[in-house]
Symmetry: C2
Subunit: 221 residues, 2 copies
């Protein structure tokens, strides 16, 4: 006789199961975690630095730095601001996954944290397929990348909870049709929270940090 397992809902893969465990652990300690994804050079580290500046007085923050190489360029910048940064070196791999994130968690005293920011590896494709167990997925687009990216990399735009459009200070110097870009986003992810800003000039940062602080307050409530 063959014994069958009744499949009542989609069976989760190993990564998703582990991601759920990670999420539970964060929830128990009242920490909100966000997963920041972007192309190389869109400004993930710059945005994290700006976010630390803005929120360090209100929230207790720490950072997980995902890198494909063992250089600590980004982690050093975070540490220089007095914030703990734990680096995950993927050894050439193109994304973080729930196993790597789980391995990083014991490095933090979660009881003493409100917000854990994860900087994923610079890649618009692979990170979209691996949940970490964070509460929000945030995508950083940037103006010089061009206005057609939602159309060309739809998967990552579909799965995020907030979208930053960074480097708006470069709008006068590059061709970028904001309406075309935002129509593409809206078709993939209707009603998505979108924050056009410039890490360089500081323009637009407040709306983003207010949104993020609200996520952390909600988690503690």
């Amino acid at each position: 006789m063959v014994q069958r397992i009744a499949i009542v809902e989609q069976i989760l893969n190993a990564n998703d199961l582990l991601a759920q465990e990670n999420r539970r652990r964060l929830d128990e300690q009242g920490v909100v975690a966000i997963n920041m994804m972007a192309s190389p050079g869109a400004g993930k580290t710059s945005l994290i630095l700006r976010t630390i500046e803005a929120l360090a007085g209100q929230l207790r923050l720490a950072v997980v730095e995902g890198d494909t190489a063992p250089v600590t360029i980004d982690a050093d910048k975070i540490s220089a601001q007095g914030v703990l940064a734990v680096q995950i070196n993927t050894g050439g791999d193109c994304h973080l996954d729930a196993v790597m994130f789980q391995a990083a968690l014991p490095q933090f005293d979660l009881k003493q944290l409100d917000l854990l920011i994860v900087e994923n590896v610079g890649n618009l494709i692979c990170p979209a397929s691996f949940q970490l167990g964070t509460h929000c997925n945030v995508l950083i687009a940037s103006v010089p990348e061009g206005d057609d990216k939602p159309y060309k990399y739809p998967n990552i735009y579909r799965g995020v909870d907030a979208l930053i459009i960074n480097k708006i200070d470069l709008l006068p110097y590059v061709p970028f049709d904001m309406d075309y870009f935002r129509r593409g986003v809206e078709a993939l992810n209707p009603g998505l929270a979108v924050f056009p800003l410039s890490c360089r000039t500081g323009e637009g940062l407040e709306a983003w940090t207010a949104w993020l602080a609200a996520q952390a307050r909600r988690q503690r409530a």
Copy 2:
């Protein structure tokens, strides 16, 4: 008795074997093929369009367009210049491989071609691990991505035969230390051919197209 296979050199994986076959097929027809890799938005398509403009009178060109989504935005731009573009839609996959390239080759009349340009999927990590069978791997960096990319994505910088630094017209508007960038490149890939240029203004394009035309001439000789 156990029969052993003497391993005299590194056994190639299936992708590499297929890449060799692709290369043989191109060589037989005197076609030189180049594999263009870059982050999303570094300017692969813009550079291909500029290259077509510059070389269309001298060389018979065609393009393979790699995309993760079924949109034909890039392929349409190439076709509009009267050049055949064959799109490979990877169905969400993060890179082209030798199997996909092999499937595209019969779409071209190779006897009637000098230069086949392959636009890989926008990604700085995964494409570096999959040879296609092209003759040159070309990486396009871009100024707004930042000057630390060779340090953070060393694998792709190690394996290329030429490097474009695109969007030099944005140098006045973004922080980018060209010496720091080039030192990083030189450490990974000494003597690499480097072409700083701007697809927007046309500055620097001639050195690149002259290099490329020389590759094609060498293949026909």
